[in-house]
């Protein structure tokens, strides 16, 4: 006690300003020697140029100066709870054995442990309140702030879980039939625990909010850095485009650069399926919505209402091709006409007033004739009016196709 009183300044300076160490300087040598003698400091390593102030002394200094550099943790609370259980157990053993003095001492001890427990919990809650209000402002790095906040949350969570076990029924069970212990445990301790619990839960919520805010701040910081860095880069290098070799480096590291190209999925609605009516209506509505306002009136598209009739299943007669029709008529009339005189394809072309060009008619007629021949139909003999082309040897120009029975009969 005398050593503590004598070296208070040195110990306070060490615990509050030098992280709990006293430097081994010529000025401090005598102090260190005296404190070591009373086991108030110790050498962590003989090679280190300082001695470490003992933890109990540090805690005492922190408590006296109200600085919470070295704070009680959930571990300390847990130790105190265990200690309380042991003291209470010892009290009952002493009382049951009739050791009244020992029982009284254990009761005082229990009182001290309970006071210590309440005090430790209060200190922790105060520390959390400090964190919440300062948002770890003493720490400049945002990552470290997040880490500190997480630790505080873990700590608060641990204490909360510990307090879960100290239910009124458990404390009642611990106190058994001892009126003194019932008073200490179920009144004094239970009342304080209830109040501290409420503060702790509040602190947990606020710390969670703080953490979310810090994480958001960190994301914003990160995003701002990306925006500013890139835009400065674009200003310095206006034509900059990242090279494709980045993709080789990104392999296995940044999947964001390997995003798939949109896969176009085309589907055709079954228009006969009434269940797809809704989808079809939606498609039509979207298509109409895409048109610029007035697009329909500006174009030549009529906006008049058109009545739509369901023609599914109806039969529609397809108009025959005029050329096909003329050929049909020609071959139908040919057997009769040819009995009177030979029939020229060119004459027929003009008589039938065929719309297609003459060469089309001639080729179609020749093709139709050959097809009928192939089909084994009874056809009128034909003769090609042709002449040799002067320029190209062997090439013959067909001038007309004449259907005649005369040559057939002669043959």
């Amino acid at each position: 006690m005398k050593a503590l009183a004598k070296y208070t300044d040195a110990l306070a300076e060490a615990t509050l300003e030098h992280g709990g160490v006293i430097y081994d300087t010529p000025d401090n040598r005598e102090t260190i020697q005296a404190l070591r003698h009373h086991q108030l400091v110790f050498h962590l390593d003989e090679d280190l140029p300082h001695v470490q102030v003992s933890r109990v002394v540090g805690d005492l200094m922190a408590h006296v100066t109200q600085s919470y550099q070295r704070q009680a943790s959930s571990g300390a609370v847990s130790d105190l709870v265990r200690e309380l259980q042991n003291v209470v157990e010892s009290y009952f053993v002493a009382r049951d054995n009739g050791a009244t003095d020992d029982a009284s001492r254990k009761l005082i001890e229990a009182q001290e442990v309970i006071a210590s427990l309440i005090n430790t919990l209060q200190a922790i809650v105060v520390r959390f309140t400090y964190y919440i209000h300062n948002c770890f402002s003493t720490v400049s790095d945002i990552d470290l702030r997040i880490l500190e906040n997480r630790r505080a949350l873990d700590e608060a969570g641990n204490i909360n879980r510990l307090l879960d076990t100290l239910t009124p029924s458990y404390l009642m069970q611990l106190a058994r039939f001892s009126r003194e212990l019932q008073y200490l445990l179920t009144k004094i301790l239970a009342r304080s625990l209830s109040r501290l619990r409420a503060n702790l839960v509040d602190a947990l919520h606020r710390l969670t909010d703080n953490l979310a805010k810090l994480q958001n701040d960190k994301e914003v910081q990160r995003q701002n850095h990306v925006i500013d860095a890139w835009l400065q880069h674009y200003e310095r290098n206006p034509r900059y485009t990242p090279g494709e070799d980045i993709l080789d480096e990104a392999h296995g590291r940044s999947p964001s650069l390997f995003r798939v190209e949109p896969l176009e999925i085309r589907a055709h609605p079954a228009i006969d399926d009434p269940s797809q009516r809704e989808g079809l209506d939606e498609l039509a509505e979207n298509a109409l919505r895409r048109l610029e306002p007035g697009a329909l009136t500006d174009s030549n598209v009529s906006t008049e209402r058109v009545e739509v009739i369901d023609q599914r299943g109806a039969e529609e007669v397809e108009p025959e091709d005029p050329l096909e029709q003329a050929l049909e008529w020609f071959f139908e009339a040919l057997p009769t006409l040819v009995t009177q005189q030979p029939i020229s394809a060119i004459d027929a072309y003009y008589k039938l007033d065929v719309e297609e060009p003459l060469d089309f008619w001639m080729l179609a007629l020749w093709e139709s004739y050959n097809m009928r021949l192939e089909n084994g139909e009874d056809v009128v003999p034909v003769e090609l009016t042709e002449r040799q082309m002067g320029t190209y040897d062997g090439t013959r120009l067909v001038e007309d196709i004449v259907f005649s029975l005369e040559r057939h009969h002669a043959a």
Binding site: E219, N224, H225, A229, E244, P255, L257, V260, E261
Partner: protein
């Protein structure tokens, strides 16, 4: 196997190249946030050489090519990269503009709400922001006959909706919400800037500081 509309919506969205987030595809995102959903979708995609990925902030899911050795896939990846890179400057300028236009002075991120009226009020009060809006429109090749900031802003908002960065959340098209595609952009930009050694000026100055100090001390 029975038909599961959430599975179908997730697969279809992913194959369309979308980033599925709580804003763009709430149900599909919820489904992908379950272990069962992730497992089923990953297995399905793996069979066609694709994989399921998540943005770093966890806000969105997207589909990637797994077989990056195939020539056809490499071509598609290159094509996709080239087309993404073309928009980067305009998107970054838009993010800087969002920082100026938002009441919190924070750049746009997933789930943020963009109210056309608020942005317009901020832009109309600042000639610098109007100029920036014009630059963004040019970079995006959003041509407009009108020099009116309102028309230009509307065109840009529509463009961003088309690109999947915003979703209109009211029928009049005056209120939008940011999607998880901004998170994907952030991931891409961060990777490329780290590879290319792109740093902001103040950070660059901080990195050079010890060397400059060394010059003064003559220890360089």
């Amino acid at each position: 196997m029975s038909y599961d509309p959430r599975f179908a919506a997730a697969i279809e969205g992913l194959l369309r190249g979308e980033v599925l987030c709580p804003v763009s595809a709430k149900e599909a995102h919820e489904y992908l946030s379950t272990l069962e959903g992730q497992d089923r979708v990953s297995h399905y995609l793996a069979e066609i050489g694709h994989g399921l990925e998540q943005t770093r902030d966890g806000s969105g899911y997207y589909c990637v090519y797994l077989d990056t050795e195939s020539r056809g896939v490499r071509h598609r990846i290159r094509h996709q990269f080239e087309s993404a890179v073309r928009d980067w400057e305009a998107l970054l300028r838009w993010l800087r503009l969002s920082r100026q236009a938002s009441p919190s002075s924070q750049p746009l991120k997933v789930k943020d709400v963009v109210r056309e009226s608020e942005w317009l009020a901020a832009i109309e009060n600042s000639s610098m922001m109007q100029e920036e809006l014009e630059v963004i429109a040019t970079r995006f090749q959003v041509q407009s006959q009108s020099r009116d900031a309102k028309v230009r802003l509307r065109h840009l908002l529509e463009k961003l909706c088309k690109l999947g960065y915003l979703v209109a959340i009211d029928s009049s098209g005056a209120i939008y919400q940011a999607t998880g595609k901004w998170s994907l952009l952030q991931d891409q930009l961060e990777f490329v800037m780290a590879r290319e050694g792109i740093v902001a000026e103040e950070r660059e100055a901080a990195l050079n500081e010890p060397r400059q100090e060394g010059l003064f001390l003559g220890t360089s």
